[in-house]
């Protein structure tokens, strides 16, 4: 039994980023449909990664490769910690380290767009990390920090906290109005600009791992005793969150850096605070 559970966890760590890749394909398809286009095939992200892997590598500095690899491994480690049911806070910090590695990779290639991209990515971190941190802490406050022990009741008790995760996802998915770091018309693709070929593929997969962790946090909000209902509900919740970000993406234009930081902090912190306050008033304790 133990071995089986273990195998299942390993499988989840491998499959989850693939599911995210598929979701990215769906994202592009849905976006295209919203813009009255046909859009690429759903498997497009995998074609892209495959193609990138086959291209000739090209670098500015060997540290770029180091940090790309580090980003991948940290995000993968975060997902593994998450799936194995360990501490959510630690998972959050490890995943944050992965994001920081991306920034360091961007800085280690001395190039104008990459430099600006790194600066902006730091601002994005300033914008979404506190909100993510608060989400993690409110989950811990409500039930437990141990992912394995978190069961049910979160959606009911912390609806606004879940809502606060949506803008975080907008930033992480690099979507308007908060695609400030990678703004493709202004600064090409920000921190990614000096990455090409296999190294870009590594970063793309790292992003999938990261998103798998954050979407995993979204799925924590739904829980049911019945495994089938539980999994269906979790997937539905994650898809709903993704769909919300797509709608926001297509209905808004990019905001400035300052707007991003202030909106994220005010709205994110505000939502969590209101949620906790209401909970406190209703239940008398948190």
């Amino acid at each position: 039994m133990d071995l089986l559970a273990y195998a299942l966890q390993v499988l989840t760590v491998i499959v989850a980023p693939l599911v995210v890749g598929l979701a990215m394909g769906m994202d592009r398809k849905i976006t295209a449909r919203m813009q009255n286009r046909r859009g690429p095939p759903v498997l497009q992200p995998f074609y892209d990664v495959g193609k990138l892997l086959s291209k000739r590598p090209m670098l500015l500095s060997e540290l770029q490769a180091t940090f790309a690899g580090a980003a991948l491994l940290f995000h993968a480690a975060a997902l593994a910690l998450f799936v194995s049911g360990s501490d959510l806070l630690v998972t959050f910090f490890v995943s944050g380290t992965g994001s920081v590695c991306l920034v360091m990779g961007a800085f280690s290639a001395r190039s104008p767009y990459s430099f600006i991209g790194g600066q902006r990515e730091l601002l994005a971190i300033l914008a979404y990390e506190p909100v993510l941190f608060l989400v993690v802490l409110s989950i811990g406050m409500r039930s437990s920090f141990l992912v394995g022990d978190i069961q049910g009741g979160l959606l009911h008790d912390l609806p606004l906290v879940l809502l606060a995760l949506v803008p975080v996802l907008v930033v992480l998915l690099e979507k308007s109005p908060f695609d400030v770091p990678t703004a493709h018309q202004e600064i090409i693709s920000g921190p990614y600009v000096e990455y090409s070929g296999p190294y870009l593929a590594i970063l793309e997969v790292a992003r999938w791992f990261q998103l798998a962790f954050v979407f995993g946090m979204v799925t924590l909000f739904f829980w049911s005793g019945d495994a089938v209902i539980s999994i269906a509900g979790k997937l539905a919740l994650a898809f709903a969150a993704l769909f919300a970000t797509i709608v926001i993406d297509n209905a808004s234009a990019r905001l400035t850096r300052e707007n991003m930081v202030s909106f994220m902090l005010i709205a994110g912190i505000g939502l969590v605070a209101i949620n906790l306050l209401v909970l406190f008033i209703l239940k008398g304790s948190i």
């Binding site: 000739r56 590598p57 090209m58 670098l59 500015l60 500095s61 060997e62 540290l63 490769a65 180091t66 690899g69 580090a70 491994l73 940290f74 480690a77 501490d87 959510l88 806070l89 630690v90 910090f93 490890v94 944050g96 380290t97 920081v100 920034v103 360091m104 961007a106 800085f107 280690s108 290639a109 001395r110 190039s111 104008p112 767009y113 990459s114 430099f115 790194g118 600066q119 730091l122 601002l123 971190i125 300033l126 990390e129 506190p130 909100v131 941190f133 608060l134 802490l137 811990g140 406050m141 437990s144 920090f145 141990l146 090409i188 600009v193 000096e194 902090l265 912190i269 969590v272 605070a273």
Partner: protein, 626 residues
């Protein structure tokens, strides 16, 4: 005299004697030999003390005043003389505030002395694990800084003065953390005040004198709060012995001594609204900053808070105020650090923030939080010393402490860059020591939900200002000639001192399990019930678990492995993309706010600090009246 007592006495007496020798000897060889000898004694005795305490399974070591007989009368005289000296200094500086505060201190010291009949409360010194940790920090980190100064201060004409004061500082600090008698603690508290004043003024420029005067005014004001607190403590609790402070049932006026001692601690640890002296102290030579920020001085403030934490924890009327003041300090200092471009100022704000975090732990008042505070204090000292000393070495190579000047430094000064990276990583990133305590604080803060909002923004700001800096160092032009780590022409002195701190930071991170179990837990256990259980590889709390060693191995593997595997060939190197142009660009970091906005931010946060501090004094009085 037992071995433990002997070692303890050595720890504070030898540096003081060394200081005198340095002053008398004056020539450089004498200074070098003396300082080296003192550092050896300090290192050996502090480790020896650790072993002695370990052999008695960390039961606190009490030293009666009689055991130190010839010392205690000397100390009383020294106490009065020192306070009188401050009056003279105040007079010479034409600062009425300093003179008045010193005069008040003198009067109150005499009053206290007369009241107790000039006899110490027993035990006069108490060496428990908290004191031991502090002594280890001061002795080991302080020694490294002293040795580093050999090179850094080599062209300074006032070396005897510098090294004498530094040694006195280390001795005073050790004595202060051993003291259990408030009057003794007050004496050594003042010794550190005097030393910091002298060291900050070391350069003798107008700016340095101004900074020193400001530091003296604030910390002496803090000393006044301290001594009033001591008088009230004697009146309220009937004792000057900290270990005999009541830990329960405090209310009304009985809270006032705690408030005043906390305020004294805030001045020493440069918490809002008293932070200004530490920032101005940046004019001093870099080893002084390192000393103030990591081995001595600011640590003493939070040490006092931790020392009286058993009483504060149960004083529910005021502990939330302590948490708020330091929480506000943490948030404000981290946000302000993002706006600075001078590396030392960034580090100064970061120190203030981290000490705020430690003080906040005391305010949160759960055993988990206090354990986190002690851990944070320990790991912060090492990393901060490493960072300051690296900035000093970088300044020697670059001629500037500006973060912008460090652009692409990794190509030119790989050793210093590596030291800065390790310093920053051990402060910010998991799974190093500082991170572990931040993780525990985050779970501990759940009992005080308001704080988690401050923590979230504060932690993210930390990432921003440190990695902006890291980014600048990393940003080396492609194809520029690289100096290899081995061929780095950095002086051997710097390589050894920085190297030992790097090694220390990493090894201690790996040993966090034993550190918590043997160093931190005995202190917590004596006063609280601690829910952090640890086996040597993992730390567990009631709400989560943290596989430190696994993560550390992971990080080691990631970086070492990647550095070995990824060796891109020449043909893989290309030019940076700049829309087809070939040029190097000028980069500017992001500092977000104008000078005026920063000043305003400081004013606002200082205002909030003043308000909270006034409340901290007013509340016990108000409670008494009602």
């Amino acid at each position: 005299m037992s071995a433990g007592e002997l070692l303890a006495v050595l720890l504070f007496l030898v540096p003081m004697i060394g200081a005198v020798v340095v002053l008398v000897g004056r020539s450089v060889p004498v200074i070098k030999v003396t300082v080296a000898a003192v550092t050896v004694v300090l290192a050996l005795s502090s480790v020896g003390l650790l072993l002695v305490l370990a052999s008695r399974s960390f039961a606190p070591l009490a030293i009666e005043a009689q055991a130190l007989y010839p010392l205690s009368p000397v100390l009383i005289v020294a106490d009065l003389a020192l306070t009188a000296l401050f009056i003279i200094i105040g007079w010479r500086l034409r600062s009425m505030i300093i003179a008045a505060a010193a005069a008040l201190n003198l009067a109150l010291t005499v009053l206290l002395g007369a009241w107790t009949g000039f006899s110490e409360s027993d035990p006069a010194m108490l060496i428990d694990n908290l004191a031991l940790i502090m002594a280890l920090i001061t002795s080991l980190v302080g020694s490294v800084i002293a040795i580093y100064s050999f090179r850094y201060m080599r062209e300074d004409p006032r070396q005897p003065r510098f090294f004498a004061v530094t040694l006195l500082f280390l001795g005073g600090m050790n004595a202060a953390v051993f003291s259990n008698d408030l009057l003794w603690l007050f004496l050594f508290w003042d010794v550190t005040t005097l030393c910091s004043f002298l060291l900050i003024a070391h350069d003798g420029t107008m700016e340095a004198r101004d900074a020193a005067r400001r530091a003296l005014a604030i910390t002496l004001g803090g000393a006044t709060a301290f001594i009033i607190g001591a008088v009230l403590a004697l009146e309220q609790y009937g004792t000057l012995s900290i270990s005999d402070f009541p830990v329960a049932g405090l209310g009304g006026l009985a809270l006032l001594p705690l408030s005043l001692l906390a305020i004294a601690a805030f001045t020493k640890s440069a918490q809002l609204p008293f932070q200004s002296w530490l920032l101005r102290a940046m004019v001093a030579p870099t080893p002084v900053s390192a000393l103030l920020h990591s081995a001595t001085m600011v640590n003493l403030g939070v040490y006092l808070l931790l020392r009286i934490s058993p009483s504060i924890v149960n004083a529910a009327a005021i502990n939330w105020l302590v948490a708020l003041i330091s929480g506000a300090t943490f948030l404000a200092s981290n946000i302000l650090a993002m706006t600075q471009r001078n590396a030392k100022r960034v580090l100064a704000w970061s120190t203030i923030g981290n000490l705020g975090l430690v003080a906040m732990c005391v305010g949160i008042s759960t055993s988990l939080a206090i354990a986190a505070g002690v851990i944070l204090l320990l790991y912060h000292s090492i990393s901060k010393a490493l960072l300051f000393l690296s900035v000093g070495a970088a300044k020697e190579g670059l001629g500037s402490e500006d973060i912008e000047a460090m652009e692409g430094m990794r190509a030119k000064m790989p050793f210093v860059s590596a030291a800065l990276f390790i310093g920053i990583f051990t402060i910010v990133l998991p799974p190093f020591g500082m991170f572990a305590s931040k993780w525990i604080i985050s779970s501990a803060a759940l009992t005080f939900p308001l704080l988690i909002f401050l923590l979230g923004v504060g932690f993210a700001s930390t990432l921003v200002y440190y990695f902006k800096w890291v980014g600048n160092i990393l940003s080396a032009a492609p194809g520029s000639r690289r100096v290899t780590l081995r061929a780095d022409p950095l002086p051997a002195n710097y390589k050894w001192t920085l190297g030992s701190l790097m090694g220390g930071a990493i090894v201690l991170s790996a040993l966090i399990g034993p550190v918590i179990r043997y160093l931190v837990q005995p202190f917590i256990d004596r006063h609280f019930i601690l829910p952090v259980g640890t086996n040597d590889l993992n730390i567990f709390t009631s709400s989560g678990e943290f596989p430190v060693l696994v993560l550390l191995l992971l990080v080691g593997l990631i970086f070492a492995g990647l550095a070995i595997i990824v060796r891109p060939g020449e043909e893989e190197m290309s030019k940076p993309y700049a829309s087809g142009e070939d040029f190097d660009f000028e980069s500017r970091g992001n500092y977000f706010a104008s000078e005026a906005a920063v000043m305003q931010g400081i004013k606002v946060s200082e205002g909030a600090g003043v308000l909270l501090v006034v409340l901290l004094i007013a509340l016990p009085i108000a409670l008494e009246v009602m």
